[in-house]
Symmetry: C2
Subunit: 456 residues, 2 copies
Amino acid sequence: MKKENSVVDNLLGQMRSEAAAIFNSAVAAVNPQKAVKRFVRTDGAKLILGRSQADTVTLDLNQYERIFLMGGGKATAAMARAIEELLGNRIHSGLINVKYGFTQPLKFTRIVEAGHPLPDKNGVQGTAQILQLLESANADDLLFSLISGGGSALLVKPCSNIILAEKQELTRRLLACGAGIDEINTLRKHISAAKGGLMARTAHPATVVNLMLSDVVGDKTDVIASGPFTPNCSTYQQALDILDKYHLHNIPETIKTHLTDGFNGKIAETPKPGAAEFEKVYHYIIGSNILALEAAREQAIRLGYNTLILSSMIEGETKEVARAHSAIAKEIIKTGHPITPPACIISGGETTVTLQGQGRGGRNQEFCLAAALDITELPARVAILSGGTDGDDGPTDAAGAIVDPLTVKRGEAVNAPALRYLSNNDAYSFFKKTGDLLMTGPTGTNVMDVRLMLVR
Amino acid sequence: MKKENSVVDNLLGQMRSEAAAIFNSAVAAVNPQKAVKRFVRTDGAKLILGRSQADTVTLDLNQYERIFLMGGGKATAAMARAIEELLGNRIHSGLINVKYGFTQPLKFTRIVEAGHPLPDKNGVQGTAQILQLLESANADDLLFSLISGGGSALLVKPCSNIILAEKQELTRRLLACGAGIDEINTLRKHISAAKGGLMARTAHPATVVNLMLSDVVGDKTDVIASGPFTPNCSTYQQALDILDKYHLHNIPETIKTHLTDGFNGKIAETPKPGAAEFEKVYHYIIGSNILALEAAREQAIRLGYNTLILSSMIEGETKEVARAHSAIAKEIIKTGHPITPPACIISGGETTVTLQGQGRGGRNQEFCLAAALDITELPARVAILSGGTDGDDGPTDAAGAIVDPLTVKRGEAVNAPALRYLSNNDAYSFFKKTGDLLMTGPTGTNVMDVRLMLVR
């Protein structure tokens, strides 16, 4: 019996290590510096952008008078560093907004530290200076835009004489009356000097290389940081209609005046698809959830697994998502569908947790605890990992967790009933006791979550 | 523009037909009569059981003195008919319990119509007669046990002098105090004369061929109809412990006495794995969700689709399950994961709906309406179907629905806002207006639900 147990332990231990290794490969693939260098190369004075034949663009660096860097987001300093390493003193100057503490040593680029997730005065001032930089750029200049998670809060500048507090007040009111995220974005993009393509308008006619590290489901360029270099299909008319729909009439006068002026044509509409402002803008999503999942897949293949990427766009209630994943693990063991063992099922995205308890945890730990409860009857050759690619799951020091069919039993052995901890949203405390936490420390990147399910 | 629309309509129309055809193949594969004949064949006096080399058993019909049929479930009459067609007047006699109205013309087998889902006196009397038949069988006899969905309510006979009302009262009390389904089954199996392997004990030493059409997630033989011919791992001790756990002390005296007698060894324990009672019992799951999904897969391949069976064991809140499926459709279109178009994703199981509204619908229609809302932004080359294999989704005359990215728009055009109908759990009324209902009529079988997602 003892011998049998240790065989089980060895296999599970190996599978848990493999899961962690696959997760690490996924995170490494979206490291901001490496990701920039994968999409931006130089060959003498040639600047080669893109990865595939279809999206490759070659520019002649010598044709540009000045090269600027600008951007905003948590990983933007690391992205700027990669560009500085590539282009060195070809760079004229740069300015980026990052979250407090998220700096890197840079040579040509000034860093403004500002508020995130709540924007603050520093962010507004930094953004105003970035807009001046964009304004100064002309047709002979090349501009690198570096955008990553947090960009929407860090590239923030209300237009006309609207102040930040008024803009935030409007967002709060919209949320309170149940407006959808698309409706809120339509409003936001019409009271900003940066979002909804307005940075592209300001930079025009300079050439823009817009490098994005996406932390949003679906990787839409008009959603990432609210699309400062992307056409905005919505209109002032629609923005006003939304206010009407929710009977939001007593909003700040500055906002009302601005939107009415826009509707009446006194202020130009935000730039639409096909506008001249976008002719010289090149977009590249250099890091995203699907790129992380594809790297995970490659690593899993190297470890001998049959692999399947389910989707990088999984959203929804975490426990329910766990249940669907567990159902797939069960089927693999029972019938070899959707793939035969050794199997590695990979998925990503960002789920939500409807809080019902007072415990500590994050969506990845909650996923793992729910999954652990779903797989208690499975043989001891299943390992399930869920981790935030930023290494930071909820208000905890863990990235997530790794569980297996014995996890719930391990909990019982240390007087931790899994179901009770789950009901209290206290996955962190549970895994602290069972030793199932996944710890990576801050990774410096963020493309949402990666989930792995190994079945042997 | 008109031409383009009609191209879209043609493609979507074709895909919707294909989805319906694939669903029909899935249902046809678990038709009770066909399913029996797939697992039971004769060759002269040889009776050949099973489909694969591993599970094939050959019996000599001439070695048996008498052949009996017995069973219970909604599809059991059709199963009996198949056996009668195969064995004709080799059959001595038979007795089956079916739901009121679920009869078929049979020659050698008597049918008792009884209550379902709530068991009634007819069910108890029929079961008592079946137990007499089993009792009369001896070592030279062969017995076909035919079990399908509803078998648990239709093969019902409390043991000792417990009456049906007392047994039902206990189940109600257990449910009310939050007991799990495993706990409830442990109790049920210890106060029944039929469940938990007791029919196998009664039939012993006859040879038993136990043919099951499974309508439970996971297809466990001890769960299907509460396992009348399957070992019961739980004990009287555990049954009493569960009553203690929930402080259920003032239960009917008859039940208390029976369980205590069982605990004290005055009544034999239910038969355990390895018991002599099971030596001559052959189990075959002749129809199940995974068998339906595999048939769907074959049909989809014939129609030129790349296919993937996700899982036959999907449970959970319907809207959330829809969301996970939609995420996969989005990924297929965006990156070709998990499989490239033309893609057919297949899944099964049984989801739940937490009712919040007053409308009409079933879990399959709810799934489709939620999915329709998730895919409005996708190109018009996606079709999603969800249907109950019994042709009977909730309290409606539809089996389910078929939706596509234009379904929500079709709703708007007839003044039916999809989100509002979904919030009111009123998918049936919505689809009645949009023409998206899937109608099959009663199919005579039930292996839970089949979901299909076609992407071209």
